[in-house]
Amino acid sequence: MMEKTILKSSFPQWIKSLQSFKVFIPKRENFGWELSSNNQILEIASDYTYPVVPPKKLIFPQEEIFFEFEQNPDNGIELKEVLPEESPQVIFGVRPCDGRAVEAMDLVFGGSFEDLYYWRRRRQTTLVGLACHQPPSENCFCLSVEGSPYSEDGLDILLTDLGDRYFVKALTEKGEKLLSEAPSLFKEITPKDREEKERVHLEAQGKIKRHLNGARELPEKIKAIFDSNFWDEESSNCLRCGICTYLCPTCHCFDINDETKSLAPLRGRRIRTWDTCQFPDFTMHSSGHNPRPDRASRLRQRLAHKFLYFILLYDRFQCVGCGRCISLCPVGIDIIEVLTRARNHGK
């Protein structure tokens, strides 16, 4: 662990020094913030909130090609493996919630079976976090799910904005390497820097308005009301779109398909794409039977995955409290409200 400061006026030079990396920095688009690698931006805007599409897409892209297949003249099939390029990337402006989300995805794609594609990208990725001064969204509730506006989980570096400079905390070797690309730009910290950083962190914590109380009681509760009509009522206006899951920083479900480009000679590829438990065909069996036939069972699945199954498997929530699913739901389904009512259901 290494602690330094860097003046904001020196920040562009740091970015420029990272020539061996593909650098992503938040860019303002008309639809919100996006992590962009267009090389034009050399600083993090002061009014940056968080990207609409979370950083997961740079590690777990919406489309991953596994292999290509082609029929050869003697009617055999040739397979050509496709692997992600091994090119190092740095993502700036990762909010602590999104960093914790990557850590949660590491658990899913790691463990006893390592997902080759995921880890090829993940190992090449350096996550530079930015502690929150203000909650990026009015629906932020990270404190309720064991996170914080300055959590270091999953990050390689945590930056804290101190006005004219950043407090830079390198948390991993990858993080330290990033500082070593331009060592002269980083200054030793003073006790005042540290004090200021602590103050900023504490203040940010106080600004979070939304809370989900008693989240650790939820696993038992969800189990208890699994078959209740509670879920029918809560999901009655759900549209079965993919917004809540596709834009969730931890949702990681996928589908694998063979895409045929030509039938004679047979040619195509096998690809993995994002999928979501909110689409009706997610659990559709080839017989036509669907074990999750309605919106109630689909909403229950989304919340139970985050607040029951993930806890049973890994003893942590699969929700980091970023609030995107609340802000973007077209019909106002609010995970905090639904879970609060779930907790009080039958009381």
Partner: protein, 343 residues
């Protein structure tokens, strides 16, 4: 003015007499000013209902769910579903009737007049308030909105924050309903195609690169399709997530299903999805604007649909959703059609 008390009274009447199975209106989200579709099943729950300029949602879309539910159940309750509809929404009921997707007695309609206003655009509201957070957004006196900010009341002229589609709306009054609340006030919609005028000035190659740019960020979450009152097909050619497979579907049928669009979010597939959808909405879209409102990456889908609406109007004199007895655009022709291939 539409009276909320009267609305609640009408809903209460419909529910307690057993005339409707349930009622769909709008309620506030938490303690905020934003609203969401509310399912009211008991007469005593009518107090949840609100009617505000944030009632954007076109509730007609929920009739698809009801139809599917009926198809699943052995002895379904076939009483009508009650809906609150605005002028635009009521036109989409007419299209469903035209297409015989529903019957008139499947739905009990409480129409509300938008009078001189309509629904707001949140982005415009936020820009207007310049960082201030609204506590309440209400209808003001003739042609204004009343926004409560920091316990102060601000009066805003409707055109400043109205949704674009409301500025171009030809139906501020419901065209089909069982009960109508509010006054029928004539309003000049101005240029009905204002929002596409800049787009129409673009050269073909400019339009192509414009749409490539827009569609390249599509995530294919299918929110636009899922929220659309006209998108009710059990199996959608433009969408790979909805296969109509039942226990009766044979293995052969399953194996031979054509995937018109692949699941990957590459530009070719995204363009296919959106353009096929646009064509399928020509002569059916009532410009309720829901597709554009729900898009998380703000793809300007209204442009496409509005352009198709204009084409239908100019080429075939076809106006969508004013007459439930009118045949659908693609199922009719006129004897005096200027082109002779049909004769």
């Amino acid at each position: 003015m539409v009276s909320l008390d009267q609305l609640k009274e009408e809903v209460k009447k419909a529910l307690s007499s057993g005339k409707v199975k349930y009622f769909i209106g709008y309620e506030n989200i938490g303690s905020g000013w934003q609203v969401r579709p509310a399912f009211i099943r008991q007469p005593e729950d009518v107090d949840r209902l609100v009617w505000t300029p944030a009632c954007f949602h076109n509730l007609v879309r929920f009739l698809h769910d009801e139809k599917r539910r009926r198809a699943r159940e052995k002895n379904p309750d076939i009483r009508p579903v009650g809906l609150v509809v605005k002028g635009c929404d009521s036109r989409s009921i007419n299209v469903l009737l035209q297409e015989k997707y529903i019957e008139r007695n499947d739905v009990y309609i409480i129409g509300v007049s938008c009078e001189l206003t309509g629904v707001i655009n949140i982005t415009k509201l936020n820009q207007h308030l310049n960082g201030l957070k609204p506590q309440k957004v209400l209808f003001g006196s003739k042609g204004t909105f009343k926004v409560i900010v920091d316990d102060r009341e601000i009066e805003i002229e409707a055109p400043d924050i109205l949704a674009d589609r409301c500025l171009e709306c030809p139906a501020n009054f419901p065209v089909i309903a069982d009960v109508i609340l509010g006054e029928e006030i004539k309003r000049n919609p101005g240029n009905r195609y204002q929002s596409i005028s800049a787009y129409e000035k673009m050269a073909l190659d400019e339009r192509w690169s414009f749409w490539q740019q827009q569609f390249s960020r599509c995530l294919r979450c299918y929110a636009c399709r899922s929220v659309c009152p006209m998108c009710y097909c059990d199996e959608c050619v433009a969408d790979s997530i909805a296969y109509a497979v039942t226990a009766e579907t044979t293995a052969d049928e399953k194996a031979q299903k054509t995937r018109w669009v692949e699941r990957n979010p590459e530009l070719s597939e995204n363009i296919f999805y959106h353009l096929v959808r646009a064509i399928h909405l020509a002569g059916r879209c009532v410009d309720c604007g829901e597709c554009e409102r729900v898009c998380p990456v703000e793809i300007p889908l209204r442009l496409l649909n509005k352009k198709m609406e204009k084409e239908a109007k100019e080429l075939f004199g076809y106006e969508v959703g004013f007459d439930p007895a009118q045949p659908p655009l693609i199922a009719c022709f006129r004897d005096n059609d200027p082109q002779d291939f049909i004769r």
